[in-house]
């Protein structure tokens, strides 16, 4: 079967942009993606898009043009962008359409995401007693992981240090200055073992991708990036998710393990075939766990990986080459698509100062979020 191809990519810088709302950042990204692929809005046959906090994506047509296209809003929490992409790929694979768009954008207020217990099926006391904080979940989860796999706290610091170092080289990143390991380790603790530099922050930003059938992509004459897999999965029994008043004694797998396995099968590849990876790094610990959950190393080996620099831009498997969520912040609707954008740029060889050397041909993304969802893509040039 022929592949679905990414023929255009656009991004609105992540971080904080005063005076521009989330949807306008989305419009910015769409216009950039259209220009990148050399097409016009009227050529786009369908769109899937979403945001968590910045309105219905289909309202974008009032600014982009009332061409009458099918525009479906996607609302899938942290996997919103990944799900929009997934749906767009299916629409082209089905043969119904030849060219369409996946878009995600958001603009969140400062500070950690606030949550209402009732929307998670929890009683009010859960929030009143001080459990309704995402940061506690991240701390408790990685605390266990470090203990079980004998990984040092410094490894968490090294993940953050690498993220900021890569962010310096990334035009679309939010945090653009290096932070040394000592500063990261000695910064105020938020939820043990994670200090403030080890967490990403809610932010703003937008990404748009133009997708086309292989036939259409060749007709456009643009650099072709093939989407070998696009998979979204939900959690299995015994996973450890945010806002859980109890978890099973018997531990199970994760949504990411399921999505990763399916994505590799779909692409006919394995972890050793991947040249670059963008992995969900809501906090430093997430990147560490996801290195293993996606099959790139064994649990416990992350300590050596970070010490030896194997996940640096010039390492054997560069991870989060644009600084990931730690350097870019996390606008929920756009975050998963940012990873794909970064891979498109890397595979085209146009990533400038952060370009992965050695002519990379394959690239992997994984986004993970509440309440136990994971989306994976594999791209190939």
């Amino acid at each position: 079967m022929s592949d679905v191809c990414i023929v255009g990519a656009g991004i609105h810088p992540f971080g904080r942009t005063e005076g521009r709302d989330g949807m306008d950042q989305g419009i910015f990204a769409v216009k950039q993606a259209l220009a990148d692929s050399g097409i016009e809005w009227k050529d786009v046959q369908f769109a899937f898009g979403g945001s968590a906090a910045s309105g219905n994506a289909d309202n974008m047509v009032s600014q982009l043009g009332l061409t009458g296209i099918q525009f479906i809003n996607v609302s899938n929490g942290c996997a919103t962008g990944g799900s929009a992409l997934n749906a767009a790929v299916s629409a082209i694979k089905s043969g119904e359409y030849e060219m369409g768009m996946a878009v995600g954008f958001d603009k969140h207020p400062r500070g950690a995401f606030n949550a209402d217990p009732s929307s998670y099926g929890l009683p009010n006391w859960y929030g009143e007693a001080g459990y309704m904080l995402t940061v506690q979940f991240f701390g408790a989860k990685i605390m266990r992981y470090l203990h079980e796999h004998d990984i040092s706290r410094e490894t968490l610091g090294r993940v953050a240090e690498k993220a900021f170092r890569n962010g310096v080289k990334t035009d679309h990143a939010w945090r653009r200055s290096e932070v040394d390991l000592e500063t990261i380790m000695n910064a105020p603790m938020i939820c043990d073992p994670l200090t403030k530099y080890m967490f990403c922050s809610p932010a703003e930003g937008a990404v748009a991708l133009i997708l086309a059938s292989e036939r259409k992509a060749k007709e456009l004459g643009v650099p072709i990036i093939r989407l070998k897999s696009s998979v979204m999965r939900t959690r299995p029994p015994g996973s450890f998710e945010v806002f859980a008043a109890s978890i099973d004694n018997e531990r199970g797998g994760t949504a990411t393990e399921i999505a990763s396995k399916a994505a590799f099968e779909q692409a006919g590849m394995g972890p050793d075939d991947i040249d670059i990876a963008q992995l969900q790094d809501t906090e430093s610990g997430a990147e560490i766990m996801h290195m293993a959950e996606n099959g790139f190393c064994k649990p416990g080996d992350q300590e050596q990986w970070l010490l030896e620099g194997w996940s640096e831009i010039n390492g054997k498997l560069p991870i989060n080459t644009d600084g990931g969520c730690l350097a870019c912040g996390e606008p929920i609707g756009a975050s998963g698509l940012r990873q794909v954008y970064e891979n498109v740029v890397q595979l085209r060889g146009t990533a400038g100062a952060r370009q992965v050397p050695g002519d990379p041909r394959t690239a992997y993304t994984q986004v993970y979020g509440a309440p136990g969802v994971s989306a994976v893509t594999i791209l190939q040039r």
């Binding site: 007693a129 408790a140 073992p193 008043a245 109890s246």
Partner: protein
Amino acid sequence: MSAQPIADNLFTEDMSALVGARNRETGHIFFPLPLTPDDNIEPIRLASRGTVWTYTIQRFPPKAPYAGPTDPEKFKPYAVAYVSLPGQTMVESRLTGVDVDNVKIGMEVELTAIPLDPDAPADEQKLIHAFKPVQGE
């Protein structure tokens, strides 16, 4: 009126155990008892002793809906753990009676109740569940 539990159905009536839930069909045990009655779910008494499976320390005062003391001058960091109750489930719970810097995975702990705001007048105090180190450990 003396201190009251923060919610009904959180503790057993004598406050000696937490009320969990058991799925009659699958035997799956979890916590807390759901708010909506379900024929398939029965309340069960959870074990009052367990071990710390993991934990974190809440180092800053949470925002609403947190109802405990949030004055940054008076706020005391608190430990939040998952306590493994043998053969049942792991319950998310505050730890008490142990310095936050001395919490360890594998600690043996037992159930107690603590006031959400120790500075509140006695008759307004709300009790929340917590686990404390087993004496002599």
